[in-house]
Amino acid sequence: MSSSTAIAPVSSRTDLQSAGAANGSEEQYVTFTVGSEEYGVNILAVREIRGWTPESRLPNLPDYVRGVINLRGIIIPIFDLRARFGGGPTQVTKRHVVVVMQVGERTRGILVDAISDILAIGHDAIKPPPDVDSGLIDAEYLSGLYTAENRMVTLLNVGKLFAGEHVDQDAVPRAALETT
C-alpha cells in the first residue's frame, strides 16, 4: 500500500557505507540551480522553501533586489541570485522557487530556478574556491566548492553574498517601527 514512498535502505550496501561517513564534521546543504550552475547553502540557514509569489518592487535598487513579499505578516526582501551573478533579472515562472533564509537577525529570500538536492557534505570534501582574479569573481561569498558525482556545487556564504544590502547605513533602532 503505502510503502512505495520509502525505500528500505538496509538492503543496500552503499547506504551502509555512507552511514560510516555520516560521522564527523559533516553538514547538510540544500542545493539549487540557477541556469546550468548548481549552488549550495547550509541547511541550518534555510527556514523554508516556497514557490514563487509575485513581489512588490522597491525603487532605485540594483536589479538583484527583486522586491519584497509578505511572509505570514512580516515583510522580507527577495534577492535574485541570477541577477546577483550578473545574469540579468530572472524571468520568473510558477516553477521558480524562493529559498527563505535566516541571515543573522534578518530573514530574506533568494530566488532560484529549482531545488536540486540535499547533500551531506563532509568538511574535508569541500575544496577552497580557486584563486581567481578578484576582478572577475567576487570570491568573498564563496565558501567552497564540492563535487557531487559529476556536478560541481558552489557553496555560498549567504551572509556575505548580500552584505552590501543588509548593512544598514542608517543605524536607527529598528524596534520603533515594528508593530507586529
Binding site: S2, S3, P9, S18, V30, R47, I49
Partner: protein, 121 residues
C-alpha cells in the same frame, strides 16, 4: 485540512502499521525509512508531526531529532520517538535532543492515536 504525520522507521511493517492506524484516524501519513530520508522529505514537505524510531541505519532517530531542532523552522515541530518500556535512559536522551514526547512500545492503536492527538491535534 488533514494533519500530516511522518513516520520514520526502517521497518516497513512498522511504517505500514503506524500509517494504517493514523490514516484510519484521519491523518495524512508520509513515510521515511531513516533519518536521512526524513530530513530530505521535511526540507520540501511541511509535516505537522514526526514519529521516529530510534534504532535506524544511515541516520538514527536521535540524530534526526537533533538535526531537525537545529533548523529554526522546526524548533517547535512536534517529534515523537518510539521507545521501549524500560528504556528510561533513551527517553531522557531523546528529551535532551528535543523530542516532544514518546510512544512506548508495545502500544495499541488507541494509544497511538491519543498520543498523536495530544501533540498535534
Amino acid at each position: 485540512m488533514k494533519k500530516k504525520v511522518m513516520t520514520v522507521d526502517d521497518s516497513r511493517t512498522m511504517r505500514d502499521m503506524v500509517s494504517f492506524t493514523l490514516r484510519g484516524a484521519g491523518y495524512e501519513v508520509v513515510e521515511a525509512a531513516d533519518g536521512q530520508q526524513a530530513m530530505t522529505a521535511i526540507a520540501t514537505t511541511k509535516v505537522d508531526l514526526v514519529i521516529t524510531d530510534l534504532n535506524m541505519p544511515v541516520m538514527d532517530g536521535l540524530t534526526l531529532i537533533r538535526r531537525l531542532r537545529a533548523i529554526p523552522a522546526h524548533r517547535t515541530l512536534p517529534i515523537l520517538m518510539l521507545t521501549t518500556e524500560a528504556d528510561e535512559s533513551k527517553k531522557s536522551e531523546g528529551r535532551a535532543a528535543g523530542a516532544t514526547g514518546w510512544i512506548v512500545k508495545p502500544f495499541n492503536p488507541d494509544k497511538l492515536v491519543s498520543v498523536v492527538q495530544k501533540v498535534c491535534g
